[in-house]
């Protein structure tokens, strides 16, 4: 390996690294504005100047300079300091002095670097230039006068998000970042623009002027808006979550976050269930906990267990599902289901049959990708970003069976439905090392889902997706709670009904919903008990409402689509009289005379982990570890299929769960998006 000297200290580095990376390796921090680890190198801000020997006797931009063997790098000489001070002064010629009213204040790269390299006064008397504001949609607020033309945003939009909506036009003093047509940035990842902008030119519009970064309490947690479980940081002030930002997790979200996960936070403050309700004479009236429990317990005791149904929703944590499972199983209830979308996945076919086995990071190794009945762009934007990242590197086949949507990268369209999938059943091994299937809910969440699952598994077997050291059979879930539910067996017992059967007319006499809002309750004539955080479809139909906590208000375990168990933390407290969901079930179990054997969340987790050991492996995704034991032929049930095309169950990316539906920001995005796609169709 080549060796360079950084400030006189020798350091070994990988060939191909830049001088900046080598200096970082040696522990030297290099100031930078345009350089970003995950974007291409632009080299236009000149803040990263260093001195290199051998080389011309002038400072060099370290981010764009490949490091060479036996190079000497100096990052702290007077020349370097002077050069950086000069760059900083140039940058500040036209930068407004509006830090006191700038939302980036306190977390601004320019502010920070100015502490080290800024002059204490200005030598300029000329007017500063002014740049017109640009419209970038409801999520990104622009103050383009602050822009320092680092072009990070342009590079992010074209490289990661895959939309060519942003560009730099003009030269010299007239250079401007613009969306060309004053249109919203058409990406599900647009919030990241504000994150990567080193100054306050791009900030978060929904949160504008609402907080200062230093007054927020930061809690590291896990996102539940999709099934990926992206790492997030919940920033709260008092009882309100002010914002959600991504944390770095290379295995899942790198350092990006989808817009829904980020901007649905205002939904946490609206439509909240903050007290129990009981339906009296056809109307829901406020009640005390005791009254609500009495109503629930009376009804459940008076009903035969096989007429009771329990459905878990998309945002439930493992704790409350476990509590519900234990409680209702003890009562003899068989109709228990966590698959409110009617999907056919079932734990009896092995854990691998419902996991994203290649892991999300594994997408980067894949050399052939087939998307079946899924539109990852709206179901899991960060998976889509990974596929795009893989596609940019080249030499990969991407095929789609299902909807022909714009995925931000080109692909081979293989057909719309079952017939196209059937062609692959006896396809034979393909000449690729690491092929993967990504199977979406569009394929398995339908009446013939089990048959399609069997067909896909057979195709996967024939094409050689599962082998030693590789498991390319991937299921992409759409709900944060689903894998956890399947892992603990939150599915109908022998003779029990599935979620869709329970909500049919006469399907059950009592329905207990754990935040299940996406299931159609129009037909059921049951007595509905709804436990959840938001007043949505479920609460409207309910006969008893038990107010629970949203995901920022309770600690909880969530298992993501890869089978990775992650722990979410409480950032704020539940609203009003609401309680953490598992405690409600614990209290109810007392009323029902079937006391659950745990009083603290630790005891509950102990029981959960003893019963289902996979929950004990925090942050571990099995990946291909069990590929050898995975029998593809056993997955699904062969049977009749219809030729209906695969359609993604996510109709509107911005409105998939009760929190997002309560959010004004999401409503605005959704209507804008609907308008834009209508315009495109015309």
């Amino acid at each position: 390996m080549p060796i360079a000297k950084v400030n006189g200290v020798e350091i070994e580095f990988e060939p191909g690294m830049t001088v900046l990376q080598v200096a970082e390796l040696a522990g030297e921090e290099i100031p930078r504005f345009c350089y970003h680890e995950r974007l291409s190198i632009a080299g236009n801000c000149r803040m990263c100047l260093v001195e290199v020997k051998p080389g011309p006797p002038k400072p060099q931009a370290s981010c764009a300079l490949p490091a060479a063997d036996k190079q000497e790098i100096f990052t702290n000489t007077p020349m370097v300091k002077k050069a950086r001070e000069g760059v900083m002064e140039f940058l500040l010629i036209n930068h407004p002095l509006d830090c006191p009213i700038c939302d980036q204040g306190g977390e601004c790269d320019l502010q920070d670097e100015a502490m080290g390299y800024g002059r204490d006064d200005s030598r300029y008397v000329e007017n500063k230039r002014a740049v017109e504001e640009k419209f970038m949609g409801p999520l990104i607020k622009t103050t383009m006068t602050r822009c320092i033309q680092c072009t990070r945003c342009v590079r992010f939009a074209t490289e990661i998000a895959g939309v060519s909506d942003l560009g730099l036009i003009g030269r010299g003093e007239d250079a401007e970042i613009t969306t060309y047509l004053e249109q919203a940035v058409a990406s599900e990842l647009s919030g990241n623009l504000a994150d990567i902008c080193p100054v306050g030119a791009l900030t978060h519009k929904p949160w504008a002027f609402n907080y200062r970064p230093w007054e927020l309490k930061k809690t590291e947690s896990v996102d539940v808006m999709d099934a990926l479980g992206s790492a997030i940081r919940v920033d709260a002030r008092g009882p309100e979550v002010m914002r959600i930002l991504p944390r770095v997790n290379e295995a899942i979200n790198e350092e990006w976050l989808a817009d829904k996960s980020r901007y649905a936070v205002d939904g946490l403050m609206r439509q909240r269930l903050d007290r129990p309700y009981v339906r009296v004479g056809g109307k829901l009236v406020e009640a005390t906990w005791a009254q609500a429990f009495a109503a629930v317990a009376g009804k459940i005791k008076a009903t035969a267990p096989d007429r009771i149904g329990v459905i878990a929703g998309d945002l439930s944590a493992a704790e409350e599902m476990k509590a519900a499972l234990d409680l209702f199983t003890a009562l003899g209830v068989k109709s228990i289901d966590c698959r409110q979308d009617g999907s056919a996945l079932h734990p009896k076919w092995g854990r691998e049959s419902y996991l994203f086995n290649s892991t999300i990071q594994g997408i980067e190794d894949a050399d052939a990708i087939m998307l079946i009945g899924t539109n990852p762009r709206i179901e899991a934007p960060l998976v889509n970003a990974r596929i795009r990242k893989r596609w940019i590197r080249g030499d990969v086949l991407v095929g789609v069976v299902g909807e022909q949507a714009d995925l931000t990268f080109p692909y081979t369209y293989l057909g719309a439905g079952v017939d196209s999938l059937k062609r692959f059943v006896d396809h034979g091994p393909i000449q690729k090392e690491k092929p993967i299937f990504i199977l979406g809910a569009g394929a398995f969440a339908r009446p013939d889902g089990a048959a399609i699952l069997a067909m896909a598994a057979e195709a996967a077997g024939s094409m050689g997706l599962v082998k030693d050291g590789w498991n390319g059979f991937n299921v992409l879930h759409t709900a944060a709670s689903r894998v956890g539910g399947l892992d603990m067996g939150f599915v109908p017992a022998e003779g029990g009904k599935t979620a869709l059967q329970m909500v049919e007319k006469g399907g059950a006499d009592v329905l207990f919903l754990l935040g299940a809002d996406e299931i159609d309750l129009g037909q059921t004539d049951a007595f509905v008990i709804y436990m959840g955080s938001h007043g949505d479809a479920g609460a409207h139909r309910a006969d008893v409402v038990l107010p629970g906590a949203a995901y920022t208000e309770k600690p909880g375990l969530y298992v993501n689509t890869e089978g990775r168990t992650q722990m979410a933390e409480r950032a704020i407290f539940p609203k009003g009289e609401a309680k953490e969901d598992w405690t409600i079930l614990r209290a109810l179990s007392d009323e029902l005379g079937a006391r659950l054997p745990y009083d603290t969340i630790e005891q509950l987790r102990d029981k959960l982990i003893t019963d289902h050991p996979t929950f004990g492996q925090i942050d571990y995704a099995p990946g291909h570890a069990s590929a050898a034991a995975f029998d593809l032929m056993a997955v699904g049930e062969k049977g009749e299929t219809t030729d209906a095309p695969f359609v993604s169950p996510v109709k509107d990316f911005y409105l998939t769960n009760p929190i997002a539906r309560a959010s004004r920001t999401m409503a605005e995005c959704s209507s804008l998006h609907a308008g834009a796609s209508k315009m495109a169709a015309e």
Binding site: N210, E240, L268, Q271, L284, G535, A539, K575
Partner: protein, 132 residues
């Protein structure tokens, strides 16, 4: 009543104060609330080189009962007491009002439970769901 005078200082002046004022003081005047003001006849060591001035409250001892003109004199801001050099009362001035904290008339912000508990919306408030 007598017991209270001995053991408390807020139900009128204490006997010590009355004694000192009777010995050393000269009566100066009385304000609208009936409190009486005195000034020392001599300057002693420890008086900071000026004549001490006293007030004996009528009823409950409460410093905010001292009106502005006497307050100034008492704190040596004015040389002459208002009996000699009255302050000019301007049209916009209102009557002196002692501090009402702790009384029934104390100020309670909107949102205080004693005023109905209705406060304007603030950050951190959530919107509760209401059926129908």
């Amino acid at each position: 009543m007598f017991i209270k005078r001995i053991f408390t200082w807020w139900n009128g002046a204490t006997f010590g104060a009355l004694l000192t004022i009777a010995q050393r003081g000269r009566y100066v005047g009385e304000d609208d609330f009936g409190s009486k003001y005195y000034e020392a006849k001599t300057i002693r060591d420890g008086d900071a080189g000026r004549r001490r001035r006293w007030v004996i409250y009528k009823g409950y001892a409460e410093p905010s009962k001292v009106p502005a003109e006497w307050h100034g004199w008492l704190h040596h801001t004015f040389v002459e007491p208002p009996t000699v050099a009255p302050l000019k009362v301007r049209a916009f001035e209102t009557e002196h009002l002692p501090n009402l904290t702790g009384t029934r008339f104390a100020w309670r912000p909107r949102g205080s439970l004693t005023r109905g508990g209705h406060r304007p919306a603030a950050t951190g408030d959530y919107e509760a769901w209401k059926p129908e």
